[in-house]
């Protein structure tokens, strides 16, 4: 085993925990510094999900991806800041304070994997691991000007990822360039017998920049109402440049987009309301009081331990599942979800990838979005890929007001390779 020292100048507050002396072994990632989002279990290292309710929690086991990283020789140097339990688009909802955007400290890095993105963008680490439930890797990648991939659902084991919304989320790689991302990705994929949703589709690909004949679908909905026209313009130029490399762009539509955001929020809050019920202070986290009877004691514990956004989403999810609401919300959301999948399946009969902006706008100013619904609306372009389970990535494609813009590429199931190639082609040719 070898060691390295890690003492980053973390002026953007990317980390919750850093490891000053890191040991690492041999392997394809030997000595590569990797930051891991703080919702991924690391044996012996505090894992908090940026929540007070998990303060002091030290997992007795490693998440599957962490085991794979260690086996590949990676140096895991710290745990990154995030929106509490992944619930946010800015990394402002952290019990440990917000992470700042390395490119403009007045702005957010995006979220919820904001700490991972900032650590990479600020050059503190070679690459990072994030998780993406409704855009949580792609949004901060776009806002910080790096590359981030949400893999096809099932391609990376979720064992050890502290669940926010199980049916939507995936762990994924983040890096400053496509090659590094690809190397990191090839280490973390593969089947895990402890995750029933894990699929045996390892990734072992070297990016190629030849995209001649590639057909790109460009959905109207990704350039419509709510999308900053300057952002739309930059992304259209990026698509033009892909065409100049031999690809063909064709317009398409995703009519189910009208239901996507609601379907997403109903599903994720429902699952979250159940996933987060276990945080009661009995088995882990700060001790629950035992003077009151259990419901009252738990309510006190959870009111004190969860931030407002988390409690708001738990309440929304509880509404969605409650008797009298289930049929109207949760069940209908599953219908809408199937419609989104059907739309993608139809579009992918004619095109190889779908392209559009990752986010409707550039990184927000800190504190700019205070209304929860307005915040939710900014996820509109990233949630469809999670609802369908298809792979999606964000690659930097230009700037507006000196802030980076992300080009989002969405692929067919298990064709992560193709969107990685497309991003690589753009990176090589467009840069």
């Amino acid at each position: 085993m070898k060691t390295l020292s890690f003492h980053p100048d973390d002026s953007v507050h990317a980390f919750i925990t850093t490891i000053p002396e890191v040991t690492y072994g041999d392997g394809p990632l030997s000595g590569v510094t990797v930051a891991v989002k703080d919702n991924i279990s690391t044996k012996g290292i505090e894992t908090t999900c940026a929540s007070k309710i998990l303060k002091g929690y030290i997992p007795p086991y490693d998440a599957h991806v962490v085991t794979l990283l260690k086996n590949a020789g990676a140096a895991i140097v710290g745990k990154t800041n995030m929106d509490e339990f992944g619930m946010g688009t800015t990394t402002e909802n952290s019990a440990y304070g917000p992470t700042l955007n390395p490119l403009d400290h007045q702005r957010v890095p995006g979220g919820s994997s904001g700490g991972s993105a900032a650590a990479v963008a600020a050059g503190l680490v070679d690459c990072a691991i994030g998780s993406d439930t409704g855009g949580s890797i792609r949004c901060p990648a776009a806002f910080c000007g790096i590359v981030g991939l949400k893999p096809t659902y099932g391609r990376v084991s979720r064992f050890g990822l502290i669940a926010y919304a199980n049916s939507l989320e995936q762990i994924g790689p983040m890096a400053r360039d496509v090659n590094t991302l690809s190397n990191l990705y090839s280490v973390i994929t593969g089947h895990d017998s402890r995750d029933a949703t894990s699929v045996d589709k390892p990734y072992s690909h070297t990016p190629v920049s030849d995209i001649k004949g590639l057909k790109i679908g460009v959905p109207d909905e990704f350039f419509g109402e709510g999308v900053n026209p300057k952002v739309a313009e930059v992304v259209r130029q990026a698509i033009d440049s892909l065409e100049s490399m031999g690809a063909t762009a064709v317009p398409c539509t995703i009519p189910s987009m009208k239901y996507a955001l609601s379907a997403y929020y109903v599903t994720c809050t429902s699952e979250a309301s159940s996933n987060l019920a276990r945080f009661d202070g009995v088995r882990y986290g700060p001790a629950v009081g035992t003077l009151k009877s259990w419901h009252d004691a738990y309510s006190d514990q959870r009111k004190a331990g969860f931030g407002k956004e988390v409690r708001r989403r738990i309440i929304l999810g509880t509404f969605s599942l409650a008797a009298g609401y289930y049929g109207r919300y949760y069940q209908k959301a599953q219908t809408a979800r199937q419609m989104v999948r059907d739309d993608f399946e139809r579009i992918f009969r004619d095109v190889d990838v779908i392209a559009g902006p990752t986010m409707p706008d550039i990184a927000f100013k800190l504190g700019e979005k205070s209304d929860p619904l307005q915040m939710y609306l900014s996820d509109i372009l990233t949630v469809p890929a999670n609802l369908a389970g298809v792979p999606a990535l964000s690659v930097p494609c230009g700037k507006v007001n000196n802030m980076p813009i992300g080009l989002q590429l969405i692929g067919r199931y298990f064709e992560d390779e193709r969107i990685i190639d497309t991003a690589y082609a753009y990176e090589q040719g467009g840069a």
Binding site: Y57, Y61, G160, D195, A196, R283, Y284, Y298, A322
Partner: protein, 474 residues
């Protein structure tokens, strides 16, 4: 009012005897262990852990489904039942809700009015919660201690239609169900808490009451009998039965109203997102069921010539049936009588299961009875000595050794004749009384002979022989 029909339906939770838990690889063999020594991230509900379904639990549940003539759903799935309770590791229980594994079955029982079919509504799989120990006395001093060793033990829940008409019938149903599960080798009825029952009970035309928390077979009949009386008394007094959940307090044999707000719970079921659906209906064809209680009973009658009553008793539990077959070889009728009429009584008296009686010792005892070496009375005495030794944790003596040590061998015919002659010579007065027609004198003389041989003569045989000798002398 007395004849208002009683309507009972049961929900039976039964632990499956798999090696590992329902959703993780922890051992299910936790009963003699320290608290929280059979746990892992999954069954502790640690953040980030994920469930993985135990295939054998599915196979066991399918076996039960087939034995109870159920239809296996083409697609079934697991759901989360959300509620807070300290012993519930994840604050939800993974169970099955609107898509259970098996539906619409039946079980034939020996009902109050003859043979009867009880319909099975559904069978589903779920995980057991942990175990709570309630501590403290003053209100503010009370707290709960939790052990998660039991958390995640696989359970099947079997739900019946409201087809049972009396507490006794409910008990008979349970006995039959237990025997069936034992025969399938999916369940160990002797493990504490391995079978728990909730019962719905109403009197025709009145509201239904759910009695929860009945954890013994005997408790079911007791709890239901208490409820029938309670509900009848309410109606007799002109009051009505309230629809409610009541708890059975085993120690006092009563049910009490549970006023907790638990009843208002909205469990917010939804499909477990970490697990995929089951499509196992086709597996059923490959499952070969073992001989079940009814078939075994018929076989006992035809193969061993056992009486229907004995056959029913002897097939009422798997181990008992196996025990009988292990001892039946030499004289099946004798073995049936001694097992069903004598041994079971002695076992029940000591609260023992059939395991307490070593089959080879019992077989030896039967040989001694059959060869006329000992009297029935001595045989019972030997039986008791063996069981008492087991009770004291000692190695029991072999029947032959007991016979030798206590001199229990039956006195031979010649010896008895000699003793009779002795007694006739000694008890002339009694002999004369006999000739004078006083029948009590005969009993006295029998007693005297018995005394001389220390009870080792067969009483019936002695009686006949004595009479014969006396009558010849006239």
């Amino acid at each position: 009012m007395e004849d208002l029909e009683t309507i009972i339906g049961l929900e039976i939770h039964c632990q499956l005897n798999t090696k590992s838990k329902m959703f993780c690889s922890c051992s299910t063999d936790f009963r003699d262990n320290e608290p929280n020594t059979h746990t892992c991230p999954v069954c502790l509900g640690l953040p980030g852990s994920m469930p993985m379904v135990n295939k054998r639990a599915i196979e066991f549940a399918l076996k039960v489904g087939k034995a109870l003539n159920c239809t296996i759903r083409d697609e079934s799935e697991f759901s989360r039942k959300n509620y807070f309770y300290p012993d519930l590791n994840k604050a939800y229980q993974i169970t099955q809700y609107d898509k259970p594994l098996a539906e619409w079955g039946k079980l034939l029982i020996d009902g109050d009015n003859g043979e009867k079919e009880v319909r099975i509504t559904r069978i589903h799989l779920e995980e057991d919660p942990g175990r709570s120990v309630h501590m403290g006395t003053t209100d503010r001093g009370k707290y709960t201690l939790v052990d998660y060793n039991r958390a995640g033990i696989p359970l099947i829940e079997i739900v019946t239609e409201p087809d049972l008409r009396s507490p006794k019938e409910a008990r008979k149903f349970l006995n039959k169900l237990r025997a069936t599960l034992e025969y399938l080798n999916v369940f160990d009825s002797e493990k504490e808490g391995s079978l728990r029952v909730d019962a719905n009970i109403s009197l025709k035309g009145s509201e239904r009451v759910e009695v929860k928390n009945i954890s013994s077979y005997k408790g079911v009949e007791k709890a239901l009998t208490f409820e029938v009386t309670r509900q009848r008394n309410l109606l007799r007094r002109g009051q009505t039965v309230t629809r409610e959940t009541r708890h059975f307090v085993e120690a006092r044999g009563v049910t009490t109203s549970s006023r907790s707000k638990e009843e208002e719970n909205d469990y917010r079921y939804f499909p477990e997102p970490d697990l995929l659906p089951l499509r196992v209906a086709s597996w059923v064809d490959a499952i070969e069921l073992p001989e079940l209680p009814d078939a075994r009973r018929e076989r006992f009658i035809s193969q061993y010539g056992v009486s229907p009553e004995h056959a029913k008793t002897l097939t009422g539990g798997l181990k008992l049936a196996e025990f009988y077959e292990a001892v039946a070889s030499e004289d099946p009728a004798l073995a049936a009588t001694w097992t069903a009429d004598y041994l079971l009584g002695e076992l029940n008296y000591r609260d023992f299961s059939i395991d307490a009686m070593p089959a080879d010792l019992f077989r030896e005892l039967l040989t001694l009875i059959k060869s006329d070496t000992i009297t029935d009375k001595s045989a019972v005495e030997i039986l008791r000595l063996i069981l008492d030794a087991v009770k004291d944790g000692k190695k029991p003596e072999r029947p032959q050794e007991i016979v030798s040590r206590l001199g229990l061998a039956k006195t031979s015919g010649d010896q008895v004749t000699a003793l009779i002659q002795e007694v006739i010579a000694e008890q002339q007065a009694a002999v004369n009384d006999y000739y004078a027609g006083k029948m009590q004198a005969l009993n006295f003389l029998v007693g005297q002979v018995m005394k001389k041989c220390r009870g080792r003569a067969d009483p019936g045989h002695l009686n006949t022989l004595l009479k014969e000798i006396l009558d010849k002398k006239v």
